[in-house]
């Protein structure tokens, strides 16, 4: 833990070309930090969606920040298709590593456990496998010769994990609550950057109830305060998503021109509270 910092300083710790792990919608998407990252003009990111993406991924792709994307799916949910994602894939503008949700979880858990891969059932017969030359089909070694093919999912090792949580304490411990995927991401990533709604006065480990939902500062590189840091997405128990904004974004994401206008108006102008 290097300490508490500003959102701009936080995203300065995401080098161009980083393999960047991002959590799915509704579990702590760091949107304020993402806008700061876009303003910085980050380049060549290799995104890992954990395990799916939404507006955040679509924004980064639309702004030309993404070289590669590993995902199980990108959409704007009930607001429709992620237009910049679909456009970039169709134009071949990004390298797409098509996956399925539990494979991304397994890949991160492999890194968490120091294993080169985890075996995963299912998948066989899916075209996903045909296009994932890094995935291997092996024979279950425990069957003593009977055929039992299973897919070996290679470890996914992000350089950086970025997410948003309700609170963190002065020592840098972060309260993730039920969102245990954030723990896996932090364990698997070299650098973990977190924005939070607020500072917690005291040490989260001093309260046995809070400790149960706490990620230790040991795994956290830096933290910045960002009230309403998921908006226009929501943060459970804190605020709902901004439906009007998301509907407008879905519209904007349909073409380069409307996306550029959105980016200029809602991202590139300095964040105002």
């Amino acid at each position: 833990m290097t300490g508490w910092t500003s959102v701009d300083e936080l995203v300065a710790q995401i080098p161009d070309g980083s393999r960047l792990a991002l959590i799915r919608d509704g579990c702590g998407v760091a949107m304020t930090a993402t806008r700061a990252l876009l303003r910085r003009g980050v380049q060549g990111l290799e995104l890992v969606n954990v395990p799916t993406g939404g507006m955040q991924t679509d924004l980064l792709i639309g702004a030309g920040c993404v070289a590669e994307l590993e995902t199980s799916g990108v959409s704007l949910g009930e607001y429709g298709a992620a237009g910049r994602f679909a456009d970039a894939v169709q134009r071949g503008a990004i390298t797409l590593k098509e996956a399925t949700c539990p494979a991304i979880h397994a890949g991160l858990q492999a890194t968490e456990k120091g294993a080169p891969f985890l075996p995963l059932r299912g998948i066989l017969g899916s075209d996903i496998l045909r296009f994932r030359s890094d995935w291997r089909v092996i024979d279950n070694p425990l069957t003593d010769g009977a055929a039992d093919p299973i897919v070996a999912i290679p470890a996914i090792a992000p350089d950086v994990a970025l997410f948003h949580c309700p609170m963190a304490d002065d020592a840098g411990n972060v309260w993730v609550g039920r969102e245990r995927d954030l723990v896996t991401m932090a364990h698997a990533a070299q650098t973990t950057l977190v924005t939070v709604e607020r500072r917690y006065a005291g040490n989260l480990y001093d309260d046995a109830t809070l400790a149960a939902g706490t990620l230790s500062s040991f795994y956290v590189t830096a933290i910045a305060e960002a009230a309403e840091g998921c908006k226009p997405l929501g943060l459970p128990n804190h605020y709902d998503e901004d439906e009007g904004h998301l509907r407008a974004y879905a519209e904007a994401s349909r073409s380069d021109a409307t996306f550029a206008a959105y980016l200029d108006q809602h991202v590139m102008r300095t964040e105002v509270a």
Binding site: T52, A86, R91, T100, P102, A103, H105, G122, I128, F131
Partner: protein, 244 residues
Amino acid sequence: MTAFKKEELLIAAMARLLRGTRHIAVGVSSPIPASAALLTRRLSGGSTRVSILGDPSNTFWSDGGKELFDCAAQGRVDAFFFSGAQIDGSANINLVGIGDYPQSKVRFGGSYGSAFLYYMIPRIILFRPDHNARVLVPKVDFISAAGTSPPEVWRRGGPHALVTGKGVFSFDRAVGRFTLESVHPGSTMEEIKDATGFSFDVAPDLKETEPPDAETLDLIRGAVGGEIAATYPKFARETLGVAT
């Protein structure tokens, strides 16, 4: 017979397919499947558990997003729903794109968990309200998840039925083919054949899909509607007539 909406017919038809399950999980953006699951829970007297992704009052997950997949892998999820941009006669589903991969002509979100859950959950119900030959194709352009597997592939789950806006099909995993079991009121078998891009069998005792009876309609519009309103207020209000 009480008048009913198409959505109410579909909810009742799917609830019949879910009978006897202990645990039904429902993905996001699925008001009709979620309503069918909640109706099943009502009809079971509460013994069927329902998990609706994205609805905190109907989920017990506390181990992250991986928990659904682990739970299914443990054999603790009996039923789930998939849609498909394309579905073919072998029950392969395509959630990825139309045309040659990767630079598809039309690109959808992605396969999500289908490439795992299809193999793990015993009763996968394929649901696609718009029944036409663009959706129900001879062969999908991209197999997100395969309908059947060779015998050496470990597999607990798979396609159980296909429910569309025109009828209900069962799926025989040994043969790898759909069988039309019932035709919704207002549709005909000829119409279904014309609108289906793959060949299928027809049940010898082909029936009309049983309409929801008055008691079921009361449940759908009452208790189920009230519960579904938490996640899908617009659907509950506009389709089920719930005052929200």
